[in-house]
Assembly symmetry: C2
């Protein structure tokens, strides 16, 4: 007997509002209202608690899909990044996820591998209604795929990288200033032949670092030495290759210091230097960029430019949530934030011999 009762309150298949209504002998509307604590519902206390009991016994949870369809709101946001394996982006995701979770959002994370087609595919798929807004950390300066988000009216915020246009909300670090800080630090140590290992100029961060490097070198009357890494390869390996190339120069033209596109590339430089018998910092000073956690643990510990990763993730997410909430999207001004960076002095830089 007891078993039979149990069976009747725990039906097969997912438990829906309708089933609860049937069990409680009341309409689905009423169940919905009491479950959502509608203040205008006036129902006898017994029926009320009866409904509540049945709901909790059956483990009822409203189907989010149905709810989302009704409300036109999914409470999930999408995030596009080039490579989660890059510690900068995993840190960025974490700060995004922290504030998103706290605000009741889930985040769909898409790894594009910096491929334009994967980027477009993901962007298309995300804008099909499964997502309330999107966070884009992969933008190229002239990306045109992003335009589609306008016509589909899906709110978005660029973070980490921005486009050349002014029509996006964006949160980025001040890389121009970062390059300036790096160069000034090296010059103060007595360096004059300072190379910059740069990434592809198609992304704003790289372009800004190059601008900062050039401006500063020019204003000091120093020669520019730029090595360009092929697109999408800003990893250790590229740093190794770059150092080999740079050291092919004649003795008088070899750089005594290098500012790299990011910390990963700097690690590659460190590794190659070790192999080539070049002592860091005695014979070569190295400044990285981003201050990824392992920059501290490498030997020698890396002097670098600190990227305000938590602030960028947090602010971008807050802005996105605000855009999502703002009813007519065009009513709000698009924030364009540029956050300060700072130099972190460690052991990979020293005065020239």
């Amino acid at each position: 007997l007891e078993k039979a009762v149990k069976t009747s309150t725990k039906p097969e298949g997912p438990v829906t509002l309708r089933k609860i209504a049937a069990l409680a002998g009341v309409s689905p509307s009423t169940v919905s209202r009491v479950l959502n604590r509608d203040p205008n519902v006036r129902i006898s206390e017994p029926s009320r608690s009866r409904i509540l009991d049945i709901a909790s016994e059956t483990g009822y949870r409203p189907n989010r899909l149905a709810r989302s369809l009704k409300y036109q709101r999914t409470h999930v946001i999408g995030m596009l990044i080039p490579d989660i394996t890059n510690p900068l982006f995993s840190a960025l995701f974490r700060s995004v996820d922290d504030v998103a979770s706290a605000a009741g959002y889930h985040v769909i994370l898409c790894n594009t591998g910096d491929s334009a087609s994967r980027f477009q595919d993901h962007l298309e798929a995300l804008s099909d209604g499964h997502v309330d807004g999107v966070l884009i950390a992969t933008a190229h300066r002239t990306d045109v795929a992003i335009e589609k988000l306008h016509s589909r009216r899906v709110p978005y915020v660029l973070l980490n990288r921005r486009r050349d246009t002014d029509e996006d909300a964006s949160v980025v670090p001040d890389d121009r200033r970062g390059a300036q800080l790096a160069i000034e630090h090296l010059v103060q140590l007595g360096h004059r032949r300072i190379a910059h290992i740069a990434g592809s100029g198609e992304v704003s961060r790289t372009a800004n670092r190059i601008v900062g490097y050039r401006e500063t070198m020019k204003s000091l009357g120093l020669p520019e030495i730029i090595y360009h890494i092929p697109a999408g390869g800003m990893h250790e390996r590229a740093g190794e290759d770059a150092l080999v190339q740079l050291m092919k120069a004649s003795q008088e033209e070899k750089p005594t210091a290098i500012f790299t596109a990011n910390d990963l590339v700097a690690l590659g430089v460190l590794a190659a230097a070790r192999r080539m018998g070049i002592r860091v910092p005695d014979e070569l000073s190295v400044v990285g960029c981003d201050d990824v956690p392992l920059a501290r643990y490498v030997q020698p510990a890396l002097t670098t430019i600190k990227y305000p990763v938590n602030d960028i993730g947090r602010l971008a997410t807050e802005q996105l949530i605000e855009l999502i909430s703002a009813q007519p999207v065009n009513a709000v001004v698009l924030p364009k934030l540029v956050l300060p960076v700072e130099l972190i002095r460690r052991e990979s830089t020293s005065a020239t011999a």
Copy 2:
């Protein structure tokens, strides 16, 4: 005039099936059928292409929410990890995302910070119908929250860590064998006082490493020296603390070699050793675990146990997709895979002096 036409084919708001039908002078059913290339549709070629044209002009894309509600399938999966900032988990996510994307799935990534309550909250939210299945990399050996997935019939696969029970599908590395490989390597180098810096025994990986360590030490008649890291703190810092503690032992009892819970902890040991003036590997050999990318770049390069991260991510995702497709979930046997690991010899281990 032209403008007026344009306006009429590009209506305000999201373009729906119904709007296209109105524009084409045909029923929504028909539009749905031609857009989905229903083979049983027989329509005049002109109307057909007319519908197609209107759809592409208006940039129509079917609302995924509505579709999901109808099909009871969202094509998104959830993934729970303790900390994306740990390079092991970012690599795991990447391999998951690669195969998920290729199969047409998106993945919602949730960072639990190893907090039981965040884990439960996310699990609850994910099982509300927004997700076709879930990948769990955070399981504790006796997790009970996971049971709910059974009653809600949401398919799941544990990866990286498993529960003590046999009722889950799982894909994990052979950590017991990993510990054995580490110890045997050290013993071959002449070490006898080999310590193990272990994590919390509540997760299977840790427990298996401890079992492997104990079995091997015991079979060789060597003394056990185990340091336990407090739960959830398997980072560099814990390694530093551990080394300080271990080195407080009397000279005859100090370990000459250490096998650590993971590479991050090993890095901490390396950093602390440097500070304490202990030379690695001359005075102390260190074996890490996981073979995270930076293990190669640290100085000295870390001897470690390779975790088959790509295989684990790939297999777990494939298994999950299979479970999702299998109609009656209980019809398929739950796979429990244990993947082989291997020792990677580098520079942090050497023969005893």
